[in-house]
């Protein structure tokens, strides 16, 4: 069953913020854990919307993309 997108975004943001205190960058698969009932594609779409809303941010090495919460991690590269 499809999960509510706003609810999912809230869960992802809560999960990411909690985790960011220990690990500033997360893989998309880490974000799946925010709501185990959500499908990978739903998590991906919700996470991408959060980036558009400036609540999450991408970190890309060029080969891999990770997600971060603005304000956490190394500000030197922002």
């Amino acid at each position: 069953m499809a999960v509510d997108k706003e609810e999912l975004k809230k869960k992802i943001l809560e999960y990411a913020t909690k985790k960011a205190k220990f690990k500033s960058k997360m893989y998309i698969k880490d974000l799946y854990k925010a709501d185990p009932n959500a499908k990978p594609r739903e998590v991906k779409n919700a996470a991408n919307e959060l980036v558009k809303e400036n609540k999450l941010e991408y970190f890309s090495s060029g080969s891999t993309t990770m997600y971060g919460v603005p304000g956490f991690g190394n500000p030197e590269q922002e």
């Binding site: 893989y27 998309i28 698969k29 990978p40 594609r41 991906k44 991408n48 980036v51 558009k52 941010e57 991408y58 970190f59 890309s60 090495s61 060029g62 080969s63 891999t64 993309t65 971060g68 590269q77 922002e78």
Partner: protein, 428 residues
């Protein structure tokens, strides 16, 4: 012109001495004409040669609004020594299919890049993109605006995204092509825009489309999904042209090896004996091919292009899972579907892609490519996921495990047993 700061670069200068043109020469020329960034690039490279380690900080939080790919953050870890390249980001631009440009377009693109970036391009990166090397964070959005509004170009793929689909020159210029590679490449690019621009996967995913088994984009060696043109009828033979090759009237390989004298063309030695499946026969007058045994190696067609041509019943062979050597070594892709008709709107390849992606997104580990997931889970599992049956060509080696593992649906009645029925015959 502002004062330029040149760096002492004896080791980099060595690169300029060889017989081939060098990027060091090009950067020096551009640096001498006023680009401090190019001089700083050479200076940092010299320092890297000296220290035997890179001075680029890899990656960063840079991009354009709404996109999660296409921009690769690059920062110097020696910004005080090389201030002009303190931030020197790379942009991957989705190349036109088969990389056709007009000179007017390129001039305009160069003018824009001179204005907004370093003026240094890479035509093209390994993935196929037009690569713009070196700009600052502030210029990213203006460049993106110019590209999309003035050039009808878009950013390509980078990071854990679908990478920019890439194709060979196809029917635009190649008589061997069994596919309209450009149309397929364009359609896949447009269909999967979201996956291209926003990270969706555990790692990169690549489509590469080659028009014939010569595989000029090396799809079989690099892509998660290789679409390679093939035919399923017979190789077309012009017996008169075969005779002309034998008589020396036509140059083998279209003259590609005519830089030295290899002696007269010997069809037996140079074509028949080199056929990997020995499916060809030459009786001195007529060339015969047992097409059922042909493995599509293309050797005979490449040697005698005027005499032999691919058949007319054309489509694509689909292969999965090539990758570079990060885990378990490099891997060529595995043949999955020997023949798939490739006609617009390409529904069959898209249905297959959906099955693959759903499985990989669910099961793939972080930074695990499709080929590695197939290695880890096994080809039989992969075939079950994509709803295909195994074929003999997929058998890598004779079985060494004597057990047969049945699935429940393969056993009449399944696994479920009634305990009551059992107890009627067996006391507890």
């Amino acid at each position: 012109m502002a004062d330029l700061k040149k760096h002492d670069t004896p080791m980099v200068d060595e690169l300029k001495k060889g017989p081939w043109s060098s990027f060091a020469d090009d950067l020096q020329t551009r640096g001498d004409s006023g680009s401090q960034a190019c001089l700083d690039l050479l200076g940092q490279l010299e320092l890297s040669y000296k220290d035997k380690e890179t001075h680029w900080k890899h990656g960063g939080i840079v991009g354009v609004f709404g996109y999660g790919g296409g921009v690769i953050g690059r920062y110097s870890d020696q910004p005080d020594k090389f201030p002009a390249i303190a931030a020197f980001h790379t942009l991957r631009i989705n190349q036109p299919a088969s990389k056709f440009y007009s000179t007017k377009f390129l001039r305009k693109l160069c003018d824009m890049w001179d204005h907004r970036g370093s003026g240094v391009f890479n035509f093209h990166g390994s993935t196929g993109d037009t690569v713009m090397i070196g700009t600052t964070t502030e210029q990213l959005e203006p460049i993106f605006f110019d590209l999309t509004h003035q050039f009808d170009m878009d950013l390509g793929g980078s990071g854990s995204n679908l990478r920019t689909p890439s194709c060979c020159i196809g029917r635009a210029r190649c008589e061997f092509s069994c596919l309209d590679t450009q149309a397929i490449c364009y359609d896949l690019t447009m269909t999967y825009q979201d996956e291209l621009h926003r990270p969706a996967f555990p790692y990169k995913y690549k489509f590469k489309i080659s028009g014939c088994p010569n595989d000029c984009v090396a799809a079989i060696a690099r892509s998660c999904c290789a679409i390679i043109g093939t035919w399923r009828d017979e190789i077309r033979i012009d017996q008169k042209a075969v005779q002309a090759y034998v008589n020396g009237e036509l140059k083998p390989n279209a003259g590609a090896f005519s830089d030295r004298d290899w002696g007269p063309f010997d069809i037996q030695k140079e074509v028949i004996d080199l056929c990997p499946s020995k499916c060809m026969y030459w009786d001195g007058k007529e060339l015969k091919i047992d097409n059922r045994e042909c493995t599509r190696c293309m050797h005979c067609i490449n040697v005698m292009p005027e005499a032999l041509r691919p058949g007319l019943d054309v489509g694509a062979t689909i292969l999965s899972g090539a990758k570079a050597p990060i885990l378990e070594g490099a891997q060529m892709s595995t043949l999955i579907i020997p023949f798939m008709r490739m006609e617009y709107p390409y529904d069959e390849i898209k249905e297959l892609t959906d099955l693959i992606w759903d499985w990989w997104m669910e099961e793939g580990r972080n930074r695990e490519r499709l080929g590695e997931l197939i290695q880890r889970k096994g080809l039989p599992t992969y075939l079950r996921i994509i709803k295909r049956k195994p074929i003999p060509q997929m058998v890598k080696e004779p079985r060494s495990n004597p057990y047969v593992f049945w699935k429940e649906e393969e056993v009449p009645g399944g696994w479920t047993r009634s305990l009551e029925e059992f107890r009627k015959k067996h006391l507890a």
